[in-house]
């Protein structure tokens, strides 16, 4: 069987975001990176890989998106699939989920899909459950821990009131949080070894998909960059100057008048 890990190439959160004229993220503007939370997904997928199994990293995106798969291979995935098609520019979550679901089907023997709980750019966190519904599979989301046990997947999920243990039958989609592990940066040996692993680039037609219909009626009509935060007032603490500045700020907002 195969574990598929879905990864996304996102603008580097350290870089300023650039929107193109059509108000979509200019994904060609800067060097991107593997979405931070997807590192946890790759880490989990590689740990959950059972004997004689493979981990296939799947991404959808423009040319540069291959870098996300490259990073997944460096972190231990065995193969990669890059779905790239001009018709996918600006794809919404429903289209994204449809493409990823088709890619999972194309793998043939997948029984588990691992995703990060959300991307660092879009951030809606709903792609995993949509992929599951499109495949007709179970979805266990926001896992802080994942275990495979026969034909079932067991996850631990932190809710505001309790830590819950959930069980779902395979095949299933799980999404993981950043409490699921601590992905390590790839070693140099792994970086060089990843160059030899196969990556398949496919378009929509190879996945048996037509051109996606544009989202019915949804249109971003304006995107305004927030006023940049004015440079911070920096106080180097000495002789209580830090505490004084802190208390002054709180007092200025009447937030110290407590317990009277």
């Amino acid at each position: 069987m195969t574990i598929v890990v879905c990864v996304k190439h996102v603008p580097d959160p350290a870089d300023p975001v650039v929107l193109a004229a059509d108000l979509r993220v200019d994904r060609e503007a800067g060097a991107g990176t593997l979405s931070g939370l997807d590192e946890y997904a790759v880490d989990q997928a590689v740990r959950l890989r059972r004997a004689r199994e493979r981990v296939v990293a799947v991404t959808m995106g423009p040319r540069g998106a291959r870098a996300a798969v490259t990073r997944a291979l460096q972190m231990g995935a065995d193969e990669g699939i890059v779905v790239s098609d001009e018709a996918l520019a600006g794809a919404d979550v429903l289209t994204t989920a449809a493409v990823l679901a088709a890619a999972v089907r194309s793998v043939g023997d997948a029984d588990l899909v691992v995703c990060g709980m959300s991307s660092t750019d879009g951030g809606s966190g709903v792609v995993p459950v949509l992929v599951a519904d499109l495949l007709g599979w179970a979805c266990a989301g926001h896992a802080a821990a994942v275990e495979l046990d026969g034909g079932r997947v067991t996850i631990q999920r932190d809710d505001p009131d309790a830590r819950r243990t959930l069980v779902a039958p395979l095949p299933a989609v799980v999404s993981v949080t950043d409490l699921s592990g601590e992905p390590t940066y790839p070693s140099f040996k792994a970086i060089l070894a990843a160059r030899r692993r196969p990556v398949r680039e496919v378009g929509l037609s190879e996945l048996g998909l037509g051109t996606p219909s544009t989202a019915p009626g949804t249109r971003t009509v304006s995107a305004v960059e927030a006023d940049p935060r004015p440079p911070a007032r920096i106080v180097t603490d000495s002789d209580g100057s830090g505490a004084a500045a802190l208390l002054e700020l709180l007092a200025g907002r009447s937030l110290l008048e407590v317990d009277r």
Partner: protein, 314 residues
């Protein structure tokens, strides 16, 4: 009509009322509840602007499928749906949008009538951009509640009805097999406190001064992921994209370097104070007051100063 999804596991009664008030400014509100409301609840939801309350026996910690089915039964072809933008709310909303073939918009901070039906605003990329999106009326929208402006409601006297549906979950839906309840922490809730003091790696595991200072000024205690990972703070304290989003008057990040996932959970704070020994920490680029120094020293000084200024209690 606009259907509003309530009673989600990770929402609160206060957040639910905000959601109802947001919806009431758009259209006549029908709320979906997970259990029969008592008289007080009917009154509170009516005061927030709800016209109809529909309920079914739906477990907040159960699978999302039955919630999706109940909403699907509730909405007509021209109705909008509003759900809380929480993990559970977004999941129900996304599944519903897929099932009904409707547009989906996640994470709105305002919703109004306009354009082809609805106009929603949201922030993106750690609140560095403000987006305005137009959708048809019959869309599924999820909205945040922290820090949003809600219009004053017109009180209603809602009618209550039970949904007569078979809401048995599909066999593949996940099942909760165990739940370890968390102790309710002392002090105000993270999402409601006017001041949040959060600790991170720089605490070296010692949250005592953070707790002492927070207790003195009535602040809630938060933490970074690293502190949760290390076992220094419990997971429900975690502020960030993968934890709780907060919108206090003042957010104090003590010994937190400011990873983007953490910033995502605190961008709605009106003022941010950072205390860190590393002047290059990214948090200093995302704050209003940056204190370069040891958090233990700064907070000990602050505790001493507050104690000195306060009248002595017997």
């Amino acid at each position: 009509m606009i259907a509003v999804l309530l009673d989600q596991l990770d929402s609160t009664a206060e957040a639910d009322l905000i959601l109802v008030r947001l919806a009431a400014a758009v259209d006549e509100v029908t709320c979906l509840l997970g259990s029969a409301p008592d008289r007080d609840r009917v009154a509170a939801l009516g005061a927030a602007g709800a016209s109809h309350l529909a309920w079914a026996d739906l477990a907040p910690d159960g699978p999302s499928g039955p919630w999706v089915a109940a909403l699907a039964a509730l909405v007509g072809p021209d109705d909008a749906v509003l759900a809380p933008s929480t993990r559970a709310g977004n999941e129900v909303a996304a599944r519903l949008a897929l099932r009904l073939g409707r547009p989906l918009s996640v994470g709105a901070d305002s919703i109004a009538v306009g354009g082809p039906g609805l106009v929603v605003t949201s922030t993106a990329f750690t609140a560095t951009w403000h987006l305005t999106t137009e959708l048809p009326k019959a869309s599924v929208v999820t909205a945040v509640s922290a820090g949003v402006q809600v219009p004053p409601p017109t009180p209603r006297t809602p009618g209550v009805r039970r949904l007569e549906l078979d809401l048995t979950p599909a066999p593949h839906e996940p099942v909760v097999v165990a739940a370890a309840p968390k102790a309710a922490g002392a002090g105000p809730r993270l999402t409601e406190a006017a001041v949040v003091v959060s600790g991170g790696r720089g605490t070296d595991g010692d949250f005592s001064l953070i707790e002492e200072f927070a207790g003195l000024i009535g602040a809630a205690v938060g933490s970074s992921r690293v502190a949760v990972d290390q076992g220094w703070a419990s997971p429900e304290r975690q502020v960030g994209q993968t934890g709780v989003s907060v919108a206090p008057e003042v957010y104090i990040a003590a010994g937190i370097s400011g990873a983007v996932q953490h910033l995502a959970g605190m961008v709605a704070a009106k003022q941010v104070v950072a205390i860190n020994t590393d002047p290059d920490a990214p948090i200093f680029r995302a704050c209003d007051l940056g204190i370069v120094g040891d958090l233990h020293t700064v907070l000990a000084d602050a505790v001493a100063a507050v104690r000195k200024a306060q009248p002595v209690h017997c």
